[in-house]
Symmetry: C2
Subunit: 387 residues, 2 copies
């Protein structure tokens, strides 16, 4: 199979309620990515750009990718905006891999961005329903938390899983986020705090939901052939897999699994020619705690209905046998929509190079990222390794 | 060089003020594309999908690409939305070419879509300024026609070009549109009518501006190796080129040229390893008549300030030595934003196969499409040939 592309640099802003606007966030993430390239890189060697964003900042909706060239200091950079709701970053990353592998560019830049706070009410209104189905779900008054609340309710009931399993996801991810200086929430929480928190969409409480965050992340990809020019420690992308499902959850046979994730994972493992036992840690799309449990099962790392017990056992903790979301996940790190898929790969970049500091996963050699759009209507899975 | 991808099928709805919603438009264009594949194709052989749309229909903004799998009858189709304002279609096409060439998929579907009429006022308001710069142009009250009006004013003055040159673009493209049963306007106009029309943004009058249209177009791409399974007359994509520029026109050295188009054309010709003299006809992005003149110059088919005389000479007419926009262009065919770049390739598919009927360009062997985002902030150029 061989490597499809190499990550040679990565950058990440703080996630949270930030003063900075979209352009500043892009500039900061890109400059950091360029600065992270061990042997240096000239900006003009960047041949393609991708911007992942839902675009709900109070700024540019259309044609936003043009600002990449301006803010990255690469005049004329051919850039496209890729938008798949919360999976925008994961899909943009795949497009960049294809641009490299097809020979269109030798070096590509992928930036994920969202400015969600301090935007106009009109845009917030669209945002509330923007990642679900319009014709049925939104008209029926379902918010995004509402859809996941229904899924969680069904899941706990069908599989006889205690609510504490959701809480365990929150506690674990907050503990990890407390070690991540870029995280929106850098504070551990107790199972008691989680259980006592106000309900948002039963059975989901405040600590079951990711926050509304601003932030950006950036990656520099190169063709594997030339990666050694830039670094002695490239992180390889070996497999990509993606899929879709009906926009409306009512069209699906089962509320408690995301078939898009299942198909994306199968494709990714096939494309990487590797297997689950080789994966050192996972970045799972935990927009709500229930989503991490579904993700573990749909990705094939837990049997159906068994992810709760796995989590309660401590196996997915940073020091467990299969660490999940060592950066705090969407739950604690924050979820600036378009940035999330790129941010997951940033964490992989740190971990596989052994530079994740206090939250380092020991002996991390292979990692998987899982990025979901809406309530499972799109999913992108990517498999990485260190050479 | 060789061929990068093959177009094996194409479909196109009527453009105009339509009753149909987004899903119906997608379904119709895709079904027509599938039906156009000479030797037939099974839907399940489609391995990747791309949806080009600005997304201003009163429906789904985020995650819209998931509907491709639903409406194309390919459950689980891995799909991404590509959005570069008016150049969305051209950029989505390039991503599909890369997906094929990188080996991610053997067959890919590209759909361009816009539903612009019958949408809410809130969305229309965003739309007015959506393809220009927010921080300066929109705040200063510039509409999209306003920016192009300023450009036209400057162009006519600097190059001493008569306003009749703009009018000649409108007259030519309306004459072509009159032969296109999918066109929004299927009616010829006279130079006198154009000159007497109400001003929109001086010197641009009503007939200098493309309409606000609904519509969709679809393409099926295959890897050149397997294209003969589907058709004996594949249309090859030999070159792709793209570039960007500052979002705000005030940041540019010269109002009367689009450097993004210039760079995109250079890349496309280099990538196709061909030259301008080989090109049989052009699809130029004529959102306003002035844009066709700029396009001819920036693509390298006319010297600076000379596109007006070229047009007045009749050279760009359907029976001229370099036909431009034989389908009527954005001006007469209509401009459903995301659909336009895909629609241009649809016209190439018909023309290079010799199936364009009354508007057939004689002996068309090689064609170029030119798709611009905003006021030149992004541009995609594609070069096609028949084998």
């Amino acid at each position: 199979m061989g490597h499809r592309a190499a990550v040679i640099g990565a950058g990440h802003t703080r996630f949270g309620v930030l003063e900075e606007g979209p352009r500043s966030l892009v500039r900061a993430a890109v400059n950091q990515a360029i600065g992270s390239v061990d042997k240096g890189i000239e900006r003009r060697s960047i041949g393609r750009g991708y911007l992942a964003t839902l675009g709900f900042g109070g700024w540019q909706i259309g044609n936003a990718s043009a600002l990449l060239g301006e803010e990255a200091g690469v005049p004329g950079l051919p850039s496209a905006r890729v938008e798949n709701a919360c999976a925008s970053g994961g899909f943009a990353l795949h497009e960049a891999v294809n641009a490299i592998r097809s020979g269109e560019a030798e070096v590509a830049l992928v930036v994920g961005l969202e400015k969600m706070t301090d935007v106009s009410n009109a845009r917030r209104r669209f945002w509330l329903g923007v990642s679900g189905d319009t014709e049925w779900e939104r008209q029926a008054g379902l918010t995004f938390a509402g859809v996941y609340g229904l899924i969680a309710d069904r899941y706990l009931s069908v599989h006889s899983v205690p609510r504490a399993a959701l809480g365990a996801v929150a506690v674990k991810n907050h503990a990890n986020g407390a070690l991540n200086s870029n995280a929106h929430f850098q504070k551990a929480v107790t199972p008691e705090q989680v259980a006592a928190a106000p309900r948002v969409a039963d059975p989901l409480g405040v600590y079951d939901c990711c926050p509304v965050s601003d932030g950006a992340a950036a990656l520099l990809l190169a063709s594997p052939d030339i990666a050694p020019r830039f670094t002695d420690t490239p992180i390889y992308i070996d497999g990509i897999g993606a899929s879709s499902d009906s926009l409306a959850v009512q069209e699906r046979a089962d509320l408690t699994r995301f078939d898009a994730t299942r198909r994306a994972a199968e494709s990714a493992f096939r494309s990487a020619d590797t297997e689950r036992s080789k994966v050192s840690f996972l970045e799972v799309h935990d927009c709500f705690t229930i989503a991490e449990l579904l993700g573990l099962e749909d990705l094939g790392f837990a049997g159906r209905g068994e992810a709760g017990a796995l989590t309660l056992s401590g196996a997915t903790a940073r020091d467990g046998r299969l660490p999940v979301n060592p950066d705090g996940g969407l739950k604690a790190k924050g979820h600036p929509i378009g940035a999330t898929g790129v941010s997951q790969a940033y964490e992989v970049f740190l971990q596989l190079r052994g530079t994740a500091g206090a939250r380092q996963v020991p002996n991390a050699r292979t990692a998987l990222t899982h990025n979901v759009g809406g309530a499972g209507a799109t999913a992108a899975v990517t498999i990485f390794s260190v050479g």
